[in-house]
């Protein structure tokens, strides 16, 4: 079932030809079991570095990353990940891709996930026959197939057009509500974070540091044009110095 997540004192340094580069510095992040957390920040703030560490794909960091109280020591099917690109295996069909992470063949589970992400009728299609949105749906289903404790999403909708993106955000929200899985979403899209997350962690750029943690207590599905939504949006824009008018700004720092 869903697990808690805690990242404490996390730093990551990369070696470059010009010497060491501190990408992330002393970051603390936590999520309750079943919570939806969004990490928002400009490019170069180390968002993806953090996610890769939580996934267990990068262990060259200091500080601790714990999922369900256990230190992450490598990749695990208990942590599902969706990358920015769908990364489907091109020689497998949609159904085979979705079932890729299952230990045993389980057509019933695959069919359930196909229905969950709305890909009925495309089970036998190959990835090159899918649109970007459909491919990303399949990738989400593949990550969810082994029933992970944590779902990690690395800018999953970044490459999609605005309409498809909003539709997929809504679908992700209902999938999350349905599955109850602890979810960490990396994004640079402020609207996406406000629409989906129960907690938004704002990261500053180079080195990445937690600049602000913003709890969001609005009911789902959220009204993107509502007063409360726009207020939170304004708060986040202000956090990135992207508001230039003198209107009063609500902060929860």
């Amino acid at each position: 079932m869903s697990a808690s997540l805690s990242v404490t004192g996390f730093s990551r340094e990369f070696t470059t030809p010009d010497g060491p580069l501190l990408a992330v510095s002393d970051v603390d992040i936590s999520a309750r079991p079943g919570e939806f957390v969004a990490l928002v920040g400009p490019s170069g703030c180390g968002k993806s570095t953090l996610l890769r560490a939580i996934a267990g794909l990068d262990l060259e960091h200091t500080g601790s990353v714990r999922v369900g109280g256990e230190e992450v020591s490598g990749p695990s099917i208990a942590r599902g990940i969706v990358f920015q690109e769908p990364r489907l295996l091109p020689w497998l069909t949609v159904a085979e891709n979705i079932g890729f992470g299952l230990r045993r063949r389980d057509p019933a589970r695959v069919a359930e996930l196909v229905r969950l992400v709305g890909l009925e009728g495309f089970e036998g299609a190959h990835p090159h026959q899918l649109s970007g949105g459909m491919a990303q749906r399949a990738a989400i289903a593949r990550a969810l197939a082994p029933a992970p404790e944590v779902l990690l999403l690395d800018e999953p909708f970044g490459a999609l057009d605005a309409f498809t993106r909003i539709r997929l955000q809504e679908e992700l929200q209902s999938i999350w509500a349905d599955q109850g899985v602890t979810t960490v979403l990396i994004t640079h899209d402020i609207d996406e974070a406000v629409a989906l997350a129960q907690k938004v962690v704002v990261l500053s750029a180079r080195p990445g540091r937690v600049a602000q943690v913003l709890p969001i207590d609005l009911p789902y599905p959220r009204d993107r044009a509502g007063e409360a939504f726009l207020g939170l949006r304004r708060t986040l824009l202000a956090a990135f110095d992207l508001i230039h008018d003198p209107a009063p700004v609500r902060t929860t720092r």
Binding site: M134, R137, R167, E171
Partner: protein, 284 residues
């Protein structure tokens, strides 16, 4: 963590991929029969010109017998069984040599492709040997191995080895690192990663290597059989040369090319079947 059916069903009306794109298109169109026939136009004209030249006496019928004579020779060889005998002998050498050389090529190519240590250990040597023209090894092979089947099969194996070694190595090294990462995320062990990600991803390049290696093996077969054999298509060809039977020379060349083409078609079909998932440019 199972999804209740009512939540799993498409609910909102905005959901459903059908609105996003039309159903998947058929991957590739088959060439029309007319286009296949068009490819035969030029050979037909050439045959007609050749026939006319030989029959009219414009060309020496001893040095250039007309196509009809060649076909008669071919027919006789088919009926009296010589052709089958030669085809069998050549086919056996070719298949054996290709299987030995090809298997070694895939094996060593996989080894150097998968392991950096094997690459440093082996690749330099293989690349050095590659620059030796393998057909130039024929006299050496005959001296070392005699005049039996061994030098012929070795030569064919050598010809098949390098294309498959190179293409297997390149195929593995060109596998998208991101797909490897997907395998790691799902906790595949090395064997499963190889079987479920690396081999299928490298397959297109390996199959290109197979086609190329089969062609080189075919060439090596002719050389091997011309050097000294008592059976096989190359032996038949050499006989034709010795008795100045140009019709036999031409007939054996024809068999060589048709057999080569047939094998190429088979491999192409295999390729199309195995790689139907690819979204590659098919030519305009």
């Amino acid at each position: 963590m199972t999804a209740p059916a009512e939540l799993a069903a498409p609910d909102t009306g905005v959901r459903g991929p059908a609105r996003e794109t039309s159903p998947p298109p058929r991957p590739r169109k088959r060439p029309a029969g007319a286009r296949r026939l068009a490819g035969l136009a030029l050979p037909t004209i050439l045959l007609a010109v050749w026939q006319a030249a030989s029959v009219s006496g414009w060309a020496d019928p001893v040095l250039l017998p007309p196509p009809t004579t060649v076909f008669v020779t071919l027919w006789q060889a088919t009926v009296d069984g010589t052709l089958i005998g030669h085809l069998w002998a050549s086919g056996f050498r070719w298949v054996t040599g290709f299987l030995i050389g090809g298997a070694l090529g895939v094996l060593l190519g996989s080894l150097t492709g998968l392991s950096r240590r094997a690459e440093t250990l082996l690749d330099t040597t293989v690349q050095m040997l590659r620059t030796v023209p393998f057909m130039g090894l024929t006299p050496l092979l005959i001296l070392w191995l005699g005049l039996n089947e061994a030098p012929k099969i070795t030569l064919i194996a050598l010809g098949s080895f390098f294309p498959l070694y190179l293409n297997t190595f390149a195929g593995i090294r060109n596998v998208d690192r991101k797909l490897i990462e997907v395998g790691k995320v799902f906790e595949l062990n090395d064997a499963a990663l190889l079987r479920r990600v690396i081999i299928p991803a490298a397959l297109p390049e390996v199959l290109t290597g197979v086609r190329y290696a089969l062609g080189v093996a075919w060439l090596a077969l002719v050389i091997a059989e011309l050097m000294g054999a008592t059976s096989g298509l190359g032996f038949w060809l050499a006989q034709g040369r010795e008795f100045v039977r140009v019709d036999i020379v031409l007939a054996s060349l024809l068999v060589f090319s048709v057999a080569g083409k047939v094998v190429d078609i088979i491999v192409r079909h295999l390729e199309r079947h195995l790689l139907s998932w690819r979204d590659a440019y098919a030519g305009s």
